[in-house]
């Protein structure tokens, strides 16, 4: 079903090393247009590295990343930044920066050097702040915001960039449950209403299964499995990739699969024996 939608991004044979450690090993991944793709996997599996590679923040890689069949290595820095936006993991900015100043940073790839601030820039910034509900906070310093407000402000910054593809690296880290949902609902809205292509790295499998159109399990530098959450949330696969022994149920509210871990997979194996 997913293969009926043409890929927006196509990762081909991507190999990436940190020193002598191979982080990504000839990895292939299609990212469908206008869908939410969630990358999940255990710590150190390479999912964040993969996301950063898609935004071309790594160099010295082998293989290709195609954006609408164009190798991103051939695109200019600002050109690429107008097409793929990134919300980094734990982003930081001076605490005395105002929300509006932060959101304005998103306009960087749209401006030539010394070109004055344009009406179009202003419209984009206001729309981004409206869409994330931070307009009322625009004169506040970001150091005075709560975690949820701060994350909204950062998402507004990425939105002001007006990219069709948005990558978010663990955007709900450090957020409480209500703000996790708040943040992911916002991301989901950007996908459903504006048809944007979203690539997310998420740690929480149940959140991943709930929001993903395409779920991707990254394991030891490879894509171990990809497909709809229903196809991937299987006890055998979770045992292999995440080393957990889990029961899978259907979430009675959303009809999405949820997993309930019993314990580590190794311990479970011993029990059976």
């Amino acid at each position: 079903m997913a293969d009926l939608v043409p890929s927006r991004i196509e990762v081909r044979d991507l190999t990436l090393m940190y020193g002598h450690d191979t982080v990504l090993d000839a990895l292939n991944l299609p990212i469908p247009r206008g869908k939410v793709t969630v990358l999940a996997g255990p710590n150190g599996c390479g999912k964040s590295t993969l996301l950063r590679a898609i935004r071309r923040l790594h160099t010295g890689q082998k293989g290709k990343i195609l954006l609408d069949d164009v190798d991103i290595a051939t695109l200019g820095a600002k050109d690429l930044a107008r097409q793929i936006g990134l919300l980094a993991q734990n982003p930081s900015a001076p605490p005395d920066m105002t929300v509006e100043e932060l959101v304005r940073l998103g306009r960087y790839p749209h401006q030539a050097m010394l070109q004055p601030w344009s009406e179009k820039d202003g419209v984009a910034v206001n729309r981004a702040m409206d869409g994330t509900g931070v307009t009322g906070l625009k004169h506040r310093r970001i150091g005075s915001l709560s975690g949820g407000q701060l994350q909204r402000a950062w998402i507004a910054m990425v939105l002001a960039q007006e990219t069709d593809v948005i990558c978010l690296d663990e955007p709900v880290n450090h957020l409480d449950m209500a703000h996790q949902l708040d943040c992911l609902d916002l991301v989901s809205k950007l996908n459903k209403e504006d048809g944007r292509t979203i690539v997310l790295v998420l740690h929480d499998l149940n959140l991943a299964a709930r929001y993903a159109d395409q779920l991707v399990f990254v394991h030891e530098g490879h894509v171990r499995a990809l497909g709809q959450p229903e196809e991937l949330m299987k006890p055998e696969l979770l045992a292999e990739v995440f080393e957990v022994d889990a029961a899978i149920m259907t979430d009675p509210v959303h009809g999405r699969p949820i997993c309930i871990p019993r314990g580590r997979a190794r311990a479970a194996a011993k029990e059976v024996a």
């Binding site: 107008r82 005395d96 940073l105 960087y108």
Partner: protein, 340 residues
């Protein structure tokens, strides 16, 4: 929930529009320069200043005003403006609000170059020493930048660590050279603490174009510098070429600091204090931070120079001592507020 918290308790900086801020700073600068012309060991009236410029009669008063007061009334604000802008860029590059050209070792490098030029090469003229100072600041900038870059990436922390290391090293050499050459100690000590007094006006004309070039580079980079206030991943994600922007900004810092040191010697802590005031006044966008820092830096250095004439009247104190005291107090306040 978002909306209940929306009432902004405090807008950034003061509640002044940008035009008012700039007008106020320009007015203050004019006032400070006028004070610099009239106040001192002798106090002159505005009439006498007017006469000295437009009806120079060869009198002692006219000679003092046009020949001694005027150069320092021009060199002080230009040095302050240069150090203020350099300070803004250093703090952005290092993402450290207590960094300054001093932290990068540029002042120390300039001092070392002056001492070496004086003791080893027998340079005596002020023009020669100021050229050595500019050269020292510039070479230190390149060395610090190069070492930090080759040590694996220009991370903010690395730049500062390398800078502090070079600053200590330069200071050590200066101490050794001065201790073993007591004859020149007295003469160099005054220069080494920074001063605007007894400078020929030629230094101003030499420094002006360099400061303009440094300032223009900074303004041209202003949007990229804005983005560099965020973390590297975010800035790179916005399409900022990190290495190129850091390299160019460093050139601007070297030009500005070199020009300031060549005119006045190492005037301490100006580059530390001024950016804080600028951000309070106009916020964090560099297109405003830099001009505001230039204006406020000019006001600050000029007022410090006027104060230096009175703190141990009738003797003149080195202006670097004044700015060091003010800077130390500001630094302590910042540290206590954990703004660093």
């Amino acid at each position: 929930m978002v909306s209940t918290l929306a009432m902004s308790p405090r807008s950034p900086g003061l509640r002044l529009g940008l035009p008012q801020v700039y007008a106020g700073l320009i007015l203050l600068l004019a006032l400070a320069m006028l004070m610099s012309l009239t106040l001192g060991y002798k106090i002159y009236s505005l009439d006498q200043v007017w006469m000295a410029f437009f009806a120079h009669d060869g009198s002692e008063t006219a000679v003092v005003i046009a020949g001694l007061r005027l150069p320092r009334a021009l060199i002080a604000p230009l040095s302050g403006a240069a150090l203020g802008m350099a300070g803004v860029m250093v703090q952005t590059l290092s993402r450290n609000r207590i960094a300054s050209p001093d932290t990068l070792g540029l002042n120390a490098g300039a001092s070392l170059a002056v001492v070496v030029a004086s003791i080893m090469f027998g340079v005596q003229s002020l023009a020669g020493l100021s050229l050595a100072a500019a050269f020292g600041a510039f070479v230190t900038a390149i060395v610090v930048f190069g070492v930090a870059a080759s040590a694996g990436g220009l991370s903010p922390l690395k730049i500062v660590l390398v800078g502090v290391t070079f600053a200590s090293l330069s200071h050590a050499f200066v101490e050794v050279l001065l201790t073993s050459n007591e004859a020149q100690l007295q003469q160099l000590l005054f220069w080494l603490s920074g001063a605007f007094v007894d400078r020929p006006i030629a230094l101003f004309y030499n420094g002006l174009p360099v400061v303009i070039v440094g300032g223009v580079i900074g303004l041209a980079l202003s949007r990229a510098l804005d983005a560099l206030q965020a973390d590297d991943s975010t800035a790179a994600g916005l399409g900022v070429p990190l290495g190129a922007v850091r390299g160019l900004a460093f050139v601007a810092v070297a030009l500005l600091t070199g020009a300031a040191v060549s005119m006045a010697g190492p005037v301490a802590f100006v580059g530390l204090v001024v950016p804080h005031a600028a951000r309070r006044l106009v916020g964090l966008r560099h297109i405003h931070q830099l001009p505001a820092a230039a204006l406020f830096g000019g006001v600050y250095a000029t007022l410090a120079d006027v104060a230096a004439r009175f703190v141990i009247y009738p003797v003149e104190a080195p202006v670097g001592a004044i700015t060091a005291v003010v800077g130390a107090v500001v630094l302590l306040v910042l540290l206590m507020r954990r703004a660093a």
